[in-house]
């Protein structure tokens, strides 16, 4: 349980908080949603919502 692990966990948490904000906002924003869908089509996958 080294302190660096704690710091690493915090950095990951920071990124996840950003992801949470972006994903949640993008679910409501038509332009971001369209962007994600375009990305989904390009990668032949499905969009993440």
């Amino acid at each position: 349980m080294v302190p660096e692990f704690g710091q690493f966990a915090l950095v990951l948490a920071l990124l996840l908080a950003a992801a949470q904000a972006v994903l949640a906002w993008s679910a409501r924003s038509a332009s971001i949603r369209a962007g994600w869908e375009w990305f989904g089509r390009r990668s032949r996958g499905t969009s993440c919502w």
Binding site: M1, F5, G6, A9, L23
Partner: protein
């Protein structure tokens, strides 16, 4: 939301892991971590090694971030009946707040920073002795749960503004979260006040200290918010006002964090000397408050209420109460910020002491109580106070009789404000009992919301009676005594019997033995202490207190005056324990109200389809 919920859970796990690592570092004396080296010591008991995690700035912020992740997880788990688009907005706002606080923690206040090898100390500098107390170990987590909980109300408000839709269902979603946050804040403030009473040696329960005020302001606005939400839920009114209060409550929580954590309270110069932390919080504050207020200015006009109410209706009384509560918060805000603004402007330093607050706040509180005692009897929409005049005058009469009995038989004449406070407190208690008693007599169901509201209002009445009594009838003596001498207060005498050395795990000191006698007969023996903490070389006072049902016998040991004489502060404080007991009652009432069936049942939440016209969604 399918992706957001796992992200929220992952976020909680990661922040929990981070705080777990910090606890592990404290418990195992890892003095290579700068924060641990500054706030722990090998002689520190295990309980305080864990509590030391939030004993200073960096750990407090981590605790803040962890609690926010916990609230967010709870909202994600219990928001499955929210419309996905609305839940997305809420999660988005909470994500932004989390991001800001974690960035602040990592950028300016990293609790995991290592010391260079050559600077690692053999032992730590110890936890501030003031914080080495069970109540103060629990007080910050509860306080932060309250502060952070208002982030949920804030995010619900922002989501409503972004959606351009606010109805009674929205109020029903928001209300239990807000009430829960308010409960935590109530208990947190009460614990801090209780700790100050027995630990700081002056025997008071509130000092209007800026740190205390920082938590009291969001509590006042939070109280206004939960009542405003009641009107929004019941009648679809006060929409804009409710939104503004939600923004204000969280803004004042952030402001409290800024005031306590930026060093600005010590001196604006200390803030200027190391501005990175203060500037970050200030920037974050401006972003969150400014952003929300811009959103409010843009969207609130769309959320006009269509319904009306008469001047004597319950809605009107709740509005008057809201105004009184916000006015109270404004008085506290001005008194807290004025010295800082003055110093920042380079003017002669001024001190806003308890005088400012005690000249203004009691009158606002008395007006508020009168409105509560009357407003309880008012009906929704039409008021019709005339129909309730029987109850109104019966409550007033019972309150006056009970209050005058307490004053005349119990304690004798005192300040007129205290007498009025006791009468009003009794009136509020009696008034709040009418509705549940009436329901019980008519064999109607007694929902938790009604029981909770009644208990919380009884708590308010008890709190005011206790404060009024303490303010008027406390007997206090500061004396110099030697062994064998006594100090007399009314029928009580405090006899200084002996002084002996005492030693703890990380301190030594002296302990006095004070026998309290009533009419010459021993009542109890008190043991106040004066402790010297070795590492931080600081002296702390441990008061000796004996609590009776109607008063506290309090004694604190002061300075050694030489020649075997010590200064002693002896007090008789009537009903003081009820100040904190009442806060517990208010929190219990809030908790019961928040767990009402209509908030737990999915069907019930969804069934309140609004009839109130709303602005079009975007």
């Amino acid at each position: 939301m399918g992706v957001v919920r796992p992200a929220v859970a992952g976020h909680f796990v990661l922040v929990s892991a981070a705080i777990g690592v910090l606890i592990y570092a404290f418990v195992n004396f890892d003095f290579s971590v700068a924060y641990v080296a500054s706030n722990s010591n090998s002689a520190l008991p295990t309980f305080y090694r864990v509590a030391a995690v939030w004993g200073a700035h960096e750990g407090s912020l981590l605790l803040w971030a962890w609690m926010l992740s916990l609230w967010t997880l709870a909202v994600a788990a219990f928001s499955r009946n929210l419309p996905p688009h609305f839940a997305s907005r809420v999660m988005g706002v909470l994500g932004v707040v989390s991001f800001g606080f974690l960035l602040f923690t990592l950028y300016t206040s990293n609790p995991f920073d290592r010391l260079p090898v050559e600077q690692i100390p053999a032992d730590g500098r110890d936890l501030n002795p003031v914080l080495q107390d069970p109540a103060l170990a629990i007080h910050p987590p509860l306080l932060y749960m309250g502060y952070v909980g208002f982030a949920v109300a804030y995010s619900f408000a922002c989501a409503a503004m972004l959606e351009g839709k606010l109805d009674q269902v929205w109020a029903r979603w928001t209300r239990p979260w807000t009430t829960l946050a308010w409960c935590f804040l109530s208990v947190g403030i009460a614990l801090g006040s209780w700790w100050a009473y027995y630990e700081l040696g002056w025997g008071g329960y509130w000092f209007w200290d800026p740190v205390e005020n920082a938590s009291f302001m969001p509590w006042l606005v939070g109280t206004a918010l939960i009542h405003s939400l009641a009107v929004t839920e019941k009648r679809g009114l006060f929409k804009s006002w409710t939104l503004l209060l939600a923004i204000l409550a969280f803004s004042l929580s952030l402001l409290g964090t800024f005031l306590v954590r930026s060093g600005v309270l010590v001196s604006v110069h200390s803030f200027a000397a190391d501005p990175s932390r203060g500037m970050f919080i200030l920037g974050f504050l401006v972003l969150m408050i400014g952003g929300a207020l811009i959103l409010y200015a843009w969207r609130a006009p769309l959320l006009k209420s269509q319904a009306g109410f008469e001047g004597g209706a319950r809605e009107a009384f709740l509005l008057y109460n809201n105004i009184a509560l916000v006015l109270g918060a404004l008085v506290v805000l001005i008194g807290t910020l004025a010295p800082l603004v003055n110093e920042a402007l380079g003017k002669k330093s001024i001190s806003v002491g308890p005088g400012w607050f005690s000249r203004l706040f009691p009158y606002i509180a008395l007006a508020l109580l009168t409105l509560v005692a009357i407003g309880i009897h008012a009906a929704w929409k039409r008021g019709r106070l005339g129909d309730s005049r029987g109850r109104l005058f019966a409550g007033l009469g019972a309150g006056v009789i009970a209050g005058l009995l307490i004053v005349s038989i119990g304690f004798g004449p005192g300040k007129w404000q205290s007498a009025l406070g006791i009468v009003l407190g009794c009136w509020v208690i009696v008034s709040s009992l009418f509705d549940p008693v009436d329901r019980w007599r008519r064999k109607l169901t007694l929902p938790r919301a009604v029981i909770g509201m009644t208990i919380a209002h009884i708590g308010l009445g008890v709190n005011v009676i206790a404060i009024s009594t303490v303010e008027s009838y406390t007997i206090e003596r500061d004396v110099a005594v030697g062994v064998g001498e006594s100090v007399t207060m009314g029928r009580y005498a405090y006899r200084f019997d002996k002084l002996e050395p005492v030693e703890g795990p990380n301190y030594d000191g002296v302990r006095a033995e004070i026998t309290v006698l009533r009419d010459g007969q021993p009542v109890t023996v008190l043991h106040p202490e004066k402790r010297n903490y070795w590492v931080q070389r600081s002296t702390m006072t441990e008061a000796g207190i004996h609590s009776k049902w109607n008063m506290d016998l309090f004694v604190a040991l002061g300075e050694n005056l030489g020649g075997g004489r010590w200064s002693l502060r002896a007090q008789l404080r009537p009903l003081i324990d009820y100040v904190w007991l009442a806060a517990g009652l208010m929190a219990l009432g809030g908790g019961l109200a928040a767990s009402d069936r209509r908030y737990r049942s999915r069907q019930a939440v969804e069934s309140t389809a609004t009839s109130t016209p709303t602005a079009p969604a975007t």
